[in-house]
Structures are given as C-alpha cells and as structure tokens.
C-alpha cells in the first residue's frame, strides 16, 4: 500500500520553486471560497482538473474517487435541506425544507470540496516531503519544526506497517475485534495501541540518539542536497492563478 501522492517534479507545477508551489496552492483555495453558484464552480473545477492532468495527478484523483462521489452525495442533500436559500420549498421532511436554490447551493458546496481536493492533489503530485519542508523553511518556519514535520511524514508508513503486524499477531492470539458492541470493540483496540506505542517509543529513543550523534542542530545555518532556483515559471503560474481569481471575482459579481 502506498501513502504518497507524489508522481513527478518534472511537470509544469513541479518545476516551480517550492515557495511558489505553496503560494499556488493558497491561491487555488480562493476561487472555490468565493463562489456559491455551481455553474462558475464547475468552470473552476474544469481548470483544476486540467492542471491535475498536466501535473500527472490524475492517478491520485482516481485513487480518491470515493471521496469525490461522497462529497457530492452527502453535500447536496445535507445543504439542500438545511440551507435557507429564501425561495419556495419544493420538498419537505419534518422541520426541513428544500428548494431549488438550496439544491444548487448544496451542489456548489460539494463542488467546492472537490476543488480543494483536486488542488491539494496537484500540489502533492509534484511536491516531495523535502520540497515542502524547504518551502516552509523559506517562509520562515524554523529548521527543527520543518524537520519534525518531514520526519512525521516518513514515520507514518512505518507506524501503519507496525500496527498491521501487531494487529495480526494479536488476532492470532485470539483478540476478537469484530464482535460485541461498539464501545466493547473500541476498548479491545487497547491491546493493539499499547504495543504500537511502545514499539514506536523504542524507535524514537534510538532515533534521538542517532540524530545527536550525527550532530543534529550543531550548526545554525543548514545546507541542502537539492538546490532550488527561481525561474520564469515562478512568475508565470502565480500570474495565471491570479487571473483565475480575478475571473472568479468577476463571475461572482455578474452571475
């Protein structure tokens, strides 16, 4: 099982400086937040899907297709019945009323979440953990904090693997996680969580010693293996994204 969405840093997005990539991600969140009408939201989503294909993120999008379906399937009825759009109700269920306007609002909210999801996948498809840490450092995050963040990314698959092994071992010893009430089942997870935690802490202690023995934090100024250069792309793509934001503001005010 793979936990990374990274595909390549040779795409139009991956060739940008890490700080530019973070800026583009931030800008990409603006248009969906400005819109509450599904028609312009669909246009924004089309732009993001095009970017996903160009950045090689379409496989990642396919991997999370479940969320895309759920976002729409849950958001539309949820918002349709609880959002007060101010027009005539067409459906009633107890105290809840749904109108054509509230259905459209629900569709816009579902599409908004999909826009965020696709934008994040484009970022992740072109950005390695070290690029993210470097970008955050350039934005002023202290080295030790960015190191903790990148270390957490790397430890996650190890933890999941270790948890899976421990769960299998406990099941072989007779641990039953599939029967009984929900609280009873949740309590049985203690038999998995405790060994997982202790195994992790053993590793943490060794890791801290290994880091210090290699001079972690000995020098205030850090060097990096990879050199990042600013190029014309770092002006072009933020300018393009700013144009998308401006077009969204125009659409919001005219529709």
């Amino acid at each position: 099982m793979t936990f990374s969405f990274f595909v390549t840093d040779e795409s139009f997005y991956g060739r940008c400086h890490p700080v530019t990539r973070l800026l583009l991600l931030l800008l990409a969140c603006v248009p969906p937040l400005l819109l509450t009408n599904p028609v312009p939201m669909l246009a924004v989503l089309a732009v993001y899907f095009t970017a996903a294909v160009a950045a090689g993120a379409w496989r990642g999008v396919w991997r999370v297709k479940f969320f895309i379906v759920v976002f729409l399937a849950v958001a539309i009825p949820l918002w349709a019945f609880v959002h007060n759009a101010g027009d005539t109700p067409i459906l009633r269920a107890g105290p809840f009323r749904a109108s054509a306007g509230s259905f459209l609002f629900g569709a816009a909210m579902g599409l908004r979440l999909i826009c965020f999801l696709v934008a994040a996948l484009v970022f992740l498809a072109a950005t390695r953990v070290e690029d993210l840490a470097y970008g955050l450092r350039r934005l002023g995050l202290p080295y030790r904090v960015s190191f903790a963040l990148s270390l957490a990314f790397r430890l996650t698959p190890l933890f999941l693997e270790s948890a899976s092994h421990i769960a299998t071992a406990q099941r072989l010893r007779g641990l039953d996680l599939d029967t009984g009430s929900l609280p009873a089942r949740v309590r049985r997870y203690v038999a998995i969580l405790v060994p997982v935690l202790f195994a992790a802490l053993r590793r943490a202690d060794q890791m801290a010693l290994a880091l210090e023995s290699r001079g972690f934090g000995a020098q205030a100024k850090r060097t990096t293996m990879k050199e990042y250069r600013v190029s014309w792309r770092d002006a072009l793509w933020p300018a393009t994204m700013t144009a998308v934001v401006a077009a969204t503001i125009y659409l919001r005010n005219t529709l």
Binding site: L113, A120, D205
Partner: protein, 261 residues
Amino acid sequence: MKELATMWRSTRMIVLTALAAACYVAALLPFKVAVLLPGLTEIRPGAAIPVLLSFLFGPAAAFGAGFGNVIADMLGGMFGPGSLAGFAGNFLYGYVPYVLWRAVRGDAAPGERGRSDWILVALIAVVSCVTIAVVIGWGADLLGLAPFAALGNIILLNNLAATLLLSVPLLALTYKRLDNAGLTWNRVMDGGGTAPRFARAGVVIVVAAAVGGLVAGEIISLSMLGVDFGAAGFAGERGTVAIGAGLSPFIAALLFGCALL
C-alpha cells in the same frame, strides 16, 4: 507557554513531536472513509491519541496533533482551507490537557492520588474536547465550509467518545512504564520549569472560555437566528457573521488563558 519554544532545543522532544504526529496519522487514516461531514470529519477513534500523548509528552503532543491532522488531511484527500482550522483546533486539543494538568497537579503522575486523579483526567479530557469543537466549529463556519451547529457538535461527540473510552485507560496502562523509561515530558524537560504564576486564573479562563464558547455557539446557531431547530446554524452568511463575531471573544480568552498557563 514558553515551553512551546524551548522544547525545540531538545532533540528528544523534536523526535517525540514527529512520533506523536505519525501516531495520530496512523490512527486517523484507516477511518478516513467513514465520512460524517464530507471533506471535514469522519468517525475518529484516533482522537484518543492527542489527549493521551498530551499527558505523556506535553508540548510535543500539541505540535504532533496539529501536524498529524494536516498530514492525515493530505494523505486522506481532505486537505484544504479547513486544514488551517484543523491545525489550530488539534494543536489546542493536544495542548490543553497538558497545561491544565500541570496547573492543577504540577509534575505529579496521573493516578498518583487514586480515583480522584482519574476523575480529574477525565474532566480535563472533556474540556479539551470542548476546546477543539469550539475552535474548529468556529474556523470552519468562518471559512463557509460547514455550520457550527453541525461540525462543532459532531467533533464534540466524536472526540468525547474516543477520549473517555480510550485515552483514560491507555494513560493508566502506559504512564508508569514511559516515565520509568524517561520519555515523559517532565523527565525530558527536567520537570518543565517552575509552576505558572497565574495558574488558577489560567485554568478558570480556559475552562470558562471553552464551555462559554460552546454554549454561545449553540445559542447563536440554535435560537437567535430565528431558523428552525433542524436548520440550526445553516442561515448562510448571516449565521457565519454571527458565529464569527460571537465566538471571537471566547477564542481570544481561550488563547489568553493558555498563555497564562
């Protein structure tokens, strides 16, 4: 509060931060498919982890919970502006138990005074659950992602169930062994320094701000907007402005209370 800065001088605390984050991600990821509010929350037994680790690792658990939530959003396909509110809420969720326990019981181990200690641990866990519900509910409502009445209450119930069912028994099982191994925050950071000067005032402000914020959020979203009970908090921009402005003093008080601790 200064330990939030000084902890970064200790390599062991940095590793514990990463470990807390990875632990939280590992507990959250398998349940990302059990969606409750699309793009925002799901069934979260993993919510027990930050409270447990807060008693064990102190400030490292606060950063670990914040980072862990963001990483889980990234790997689980839920990354977006809501992750900002998620970071802030989870950071406080992992920070509040540690500061409240330290303010009330100092460097003492949980369980040292028997049953009364465990009741205190449970009460502190409840306050931290209220804190995360208020902060994320407020942030998500301000960003127009979900109404306070829906998200705030779901987070509160979700986290209460996980912490009361799992955090407290796990803490009882693990604290002594980890303390003996020198891996609890007061061992790593030599007792964490002197007790805060305004500890009592800080505790009162944090508890009052968290509970007050939840009550105010419910009142604003349930009655003052004049919408049906079922439509609580879903009053569009008017509701968002009311929640945003109405809860701001409580969020500010919560941060002020934490600063005193």
